[in-house]
């Protein structure tokens, strides 16, 4: 703003002088509101800030790192203070887990090969390879109207908009905005988010939309006759071309079949614990490696 040096002790007087410099308060308000409204319209309705948002996010990321510092320090000191015995226990437990996992993995590679062979026989596309990257939670937004988190990987790591994000138990969300060193994830529980799913038991296709609360998803437009049960596992169906097929998304918690309503009211609980995320997986599905049907025939 105007940085007029004011030497007079009577600063009220001085200030009024300064206040008359530049546009009046009403004009400033009008200008501010006009700019805001046009920004809202441009950003929301036309989605006009695709690349600009990347720069803006990179610009403010120092603030995010600064805000994250106390939490980092706390967790660093917690690691320092962890006792020897605790670490030994944890190590033993992790070794056990790794052994079990590697056994599953051995079987998994065999099954994957077999599955691909069978699919090739049926002339259907084989499963694509998936590249993964571990990201760490950087910040959680306190904006009560939307559920977003910030992770510490950005365009320099190859993160792109619309990329699926998972944690160790299930689907978490998708990348919404990227900046150079961090990116913003829209959680599946956000009210603007929807994910195509299918029931693991019988392949009924559904769409799970966020409810705005972290532990609930709404399944919309379910006919009363649909074969659903409480406890059914919902897997991502891969139909939206965002999430790869077959990852656990949610579990059905309640079904209300009120015939006076057009559809059954179905609620589900996300498998991933969205309120206690720490390490996340970013996925790249290599669409290039998907073989063309002609190649298979040869």
């Amino acid at each position: 703003m105007q940085a007029h040096e004011c030497k007079s002790p009577n600063w009220h007087y001085c200030m009024n002088l300064n206040f008359s410099v530049g546009p009046s308060l009403q004009h400033r308000l009008a200008l501010g509101l006009l700019l805001s409204v046009s920004l809202i319209i441009f950003d929301h309705k036309f989605n006009g800030f695709g690349t600009t948002r990347v720069y803006l996010n990179s610009l403010v990321s120092p603030l995010q790192y600064l805000a994250n510092l106390p939490g980092e320090l706390l967790s660093a000191s917690a690691t320092q203070l962890a006792s020897h015995q605790q670490l030994l226990d944890e190590n033993a437990q992790l070794t056990l887990q790794a052994t079990l996992m590697s056994e599953e993995l051995q079987r998994m590679t065999f099954l994957k090969e077999e599955n691909n062979r069978l699919r090739r026989l049926l002339n259907s596309p084989t499963n694509v390879n998936i590249r993964k990257l571990v990201a760490e939670l950087m910040a959680v937004d306190n904006n009560p109207y939307s559920h977003q988190i910030v992770v510490n990987k950005g365009t320099i790591n190859g993160v792109f908009e619309g990329q699926p994000v998972l944690d160790e138990s299930g689907v978490v969300g998708q990348i919404m905005q990227v900046s150079s060193t961090n990116s913003r994830v829209l959680l599946i529980a956000d009210i603007t988010h929807a994910i195509p799913v299918r029931v693991a038991r019988n392949n009924v296709r559904l769409v799970a939309t966020g409810s705005g609360s972290l532990d609930e998803l709404h399944i919309q437009h379910v006919p009363h006759s649909a074969d659903l049960q409480v406890g059914d596992l919902l897997l991502s169906s891969g139909l939206g071309k965002v999430f790869p097929e077959g990852y656990p998304v949610a579990e059905i918690t309640s079904i209300v079949r009120d015939e006076s309503r057009p559809f059954a009211v179905v609620r589900a609980k996300p498998i991933a614990q969205l309120d206690r995320l720490k390490y996340l997986l970013l996925l790249w599905t290599d669409e290039q490696e998907l073989p063309e049907p002609e190649e298979i025939e040869q």
């Binding site: 703003m1 940085a3 308060l25 904006n143 109207y145």
Partner: protein
């Protein structure tokens, strides 16, 4: 000298950091509107330096930081700070507790505008927990006022 000229900007940066600092979910509900409060103080103290323009810029930064549509917070911030800037002479003469009440009303106004705009853009629905920041802002105001006034007097910012 250099610190003096950047004191307002630094206090606003602190407020922005406090506004986005990750907190446990149950404390998060009661997080006061730091940026709004600091802007309110500077608008009351030095309305020729901090008013609608600075509020707009801070609102925009807040939009980027919080991931909302650009313009939502800047709109709400402009309107709230305008109300203060237009009445700063009267508000200065109020006692601290009366001021805290007015700040509470302004904060409620701010939060409601943000909610209305969000409601217009997406279909969020209203929960009364969204209004807890109003109470915490009201409680925080006297202390923040005292702290920032001390800063302003010590550094003779005008």
């Amino acid at each position: 000298m250099s610190f003096r000229s950047y004191a307002i900007a630094l206090s606003l940066i602190c407020a922005l950091v406090l506004q986005i600092m990750p907190l446990p979910a149950f404390v998060d509900l009661y997080r006061p509107d730091w940026v709004l409060l600091v802007l309110c103080y500077w608008t009351l103290a030095l309305p020729h330096r901090v008013n609608v323009g600075v509020a707009f810029i801070n609102g925009l930064i807040l939009d980027v930081l919080l991931g909302s549509s650009l313009g939502v917070h800047s709109f709400a911030m402009c309107v709230s700070i305008y109300v203060l800037a237009a009445n700063y002479k009267r508000l200065r003469n109020y006692s601290l507790w009366q001021q805290a009440f007015v700040i509470g009303v302004i904060s409620a106004f701010y939060n409601l505008i943000v909610f209305w705009l969000q409601h217009l853009l997406t279909d969020v629905y209203f929960l009364f927990t969204y209004m807890w920041p109003v109470v915490s802002s009201m409680i925080l105001w006297p202390w923040l006022f005292w702290l920032l006034r001390k800063l302003r007097r010590q550094l003779r910012i005008s």
